[in-house]
Symmetry: C2
Subunit: 350 residues, 2 copies
């Protein structure tokens, strides 16, 4: 270990995000971005904010954006926390809410950032195996715990848990239960309606997927005000102004253009169904998906070989070299032409 | 304490940033923003990046911006870390480099975020009193320590430490010495030329002051690659993409417009000298400043009374209700008309 590093640093195994290639000609189906750009109103709103005002700090509590999100969900500003992408929101929640003396529970197959946060903040945790076909069973969480975190729909599997079972998960802890809903707008049932009833429920969402703003880094958490206050205290001990002026303007405009949101997510869902059928025709086993990606494997080819053969043909998909899932590909649902390009490339490879 | 909070949260006393009023008619001299807007090239660069591409994640390592900063200082990309404002960069440095078993040292009067980071990451620290008139003496740091952090020029005093004494500070620790140079472009001597010689020196700067981009949240650290690697490991265990696409574009353009930078900082320095003389004529004791603000007190009036009387006249300045400095005002250097408005308001009050 380097003598200047904190002892912690040598222990970290940082999260590795999907490739962000400079070459824009690649068919990029590897990081679950929306294939459709943001609302034209977002572009207008950013343009209106551009200029001399950039010399001034943004509103530190992102009030306008919190108000817009609150209105959308019938809540108040005090129920909303916003951060620099849902990854930052999750990090603050791990440090400020999920770090307890009993171990945190989460599925063995899920967003691979969760164990990284645990290392960063020295949080004890146990992983709970998903059932066959990657289904989550709330019965498996009926044990002593210091909190629970799970993604719904789950990543990278794409499977969704119905709301009554989500509520069973919320009841399975005397601490905080965090539901990570990054993909919920593509077909999951959000736990937001349960917030009024459960003072230990925190729901996290993002603008990176269904709002087409991965490039602007906006995420948020919803929960009862006492949970939001914990996040705010951590945030204000870390960085007073995580959301810049242009991101604030973009976020408010993205929420306001309801029609754009509905139209683009409908198109993604349609493409998903077409792509899923196409993959099945080629012999893939495709898990049911409530997200903007598909999790699929081919009985005759390894995931690694397929991912690399696709890369050679200019198509990026994600492959995780991990137990239980290394035979699978995670394929982002693209525009119809991108999905067709993927199927055509696979046709050649298979 | 709330039963859902991590034990840590109840202990935090978050940093309180200066007021960001919605009313743009106020004469805002309270948060050390640049009175001049960013380069027109920044606006152009952001406009060029706006559009469909916002749906895609940014480059996670901010390579283009790190290259631009490296070129400016005759270093390489591996010597540069960028973050969401220098506050985020500082936070990662506290967690990844300054958390050691021996206590961290910093001045008693300095940026008040330092003890907040120590609380957040449970870092042992000792404050070292500045000498009379708020001068830092490197002799006071010749003791066992787990690292040193100091601002140069210091905030909120505005005083600068000459480079030979900065080097004495770097030699005073066997761990990392972090020099926080948020204000250095207004008259301080940067420690950047010492980086090649000292493997324990980390220099942190920001785009919020001399680059007129407080609204865009960009800060950076410079040091030998092994120190940068520690920050990168922490960042990639926290949030993969802290700098959004528009901030990246803005940052590169701000670095590239050297002429705008030189012209605006020269104007700020001229206004500082005029304002300092004006305050002295009104009976203020004004500390020498190498920054874009003045630290001043009046023998006949308390700092709190003056700040509140100025507020009533539409002029915001910063007052810290803290030992040793509660008689002072910290006044941002504004445009000539803003400085004149401040002096006129004071004329009435005094």
């Amino acid at each position: 270990m380097n003598r200047y590093w904190s002892p912690l640093v040598a222990r970290l195994s940082p999260y590795v995000p999907g490739e962000q290639p400079a070459d824009l000609n690649l068919v990029k189906l590897n990081t679950n971005e929306n294939p459709y750009g943001p609302s034209p109103r977002v572009v207008e709103a950013v343009r209106a904010e551009l200029g001399d005002r950039l010399r001034l700090y943004p509103n530190p509590e992102s009030d306008a954006l919190r108000d817009a999100i609150a209105r959308l969900h019938g809540l108040t500003r005090e129920h909303v926390f916003v951060g620099n992408g849902s990854d930052e929101v999750l990090a603050h929640a791990f440090q400020g809410l999920l770090k307890q003396s009993l171990p945190l529970l989460f599925p063995d197959v899920t967003y691979s950032f969760y164990p990284v946060y645990c290392d960063l903040y020295e949080i004890a945790y146990q992983t709970v195996p998903l059932r066959e076909s990657f289904e989550l069973d709330p019965a498996d969480y009926q044990r002593e715990n210091g909190g629970i975190v799970f993604a719904n729909p789950n990543a990278p599997t794409g499977r969704a848990l119905p709301l009554p079972q989500v509520e069973r998960m919320v009841l399975a802890s005397e601490r905080v239960v965090l539901v990570d809903e990054a993909y919920v707008d593509f077909g999951g049932a959000s736990a937001i309606p349960l917030i009024a009833k459960h003072d230990n429920l925190l729901v996290v969402q993002t603008f990176s997927k269904s709002r087409s703003l991965a490039g602007m880094r906006i995420g948020f958490a919803l929960g009862q005000p006492h949970l939001i206050e914990a996040l705010t205290r951590v945030k204000n001990s870390f960085n007073s102004y995580p959301i810049d002026r242009l991101a604030l303007a973009a976020g408010v405009a993205a929420i306001d253009d309801r029609e754009w949101f509905e139209d683009t997510r409908r198109r993604v869902i349609e493409s998903r169904n077409t792509l899923s059928a196409g993959l099945a025709r080629q012999g893939f086993e495709v898990l049911p998906s409530a997200t903007n990606f598909l999790f699929a494997r081919h009985p005759a080819h390894t995931g690694a070989a397929l991912a690399s053969a696709l890369r050679a043909r200019g198509v990026l998909v994600r492959h995780f070299n991990k137990p239980r899932i290394d035979s699978y590909l995670r394929i982002t649902v693209g525009r119809p032409d991108q999905c067709a390009a993927l199927l055509q490339a696979l046709e050649h490879i298979l």
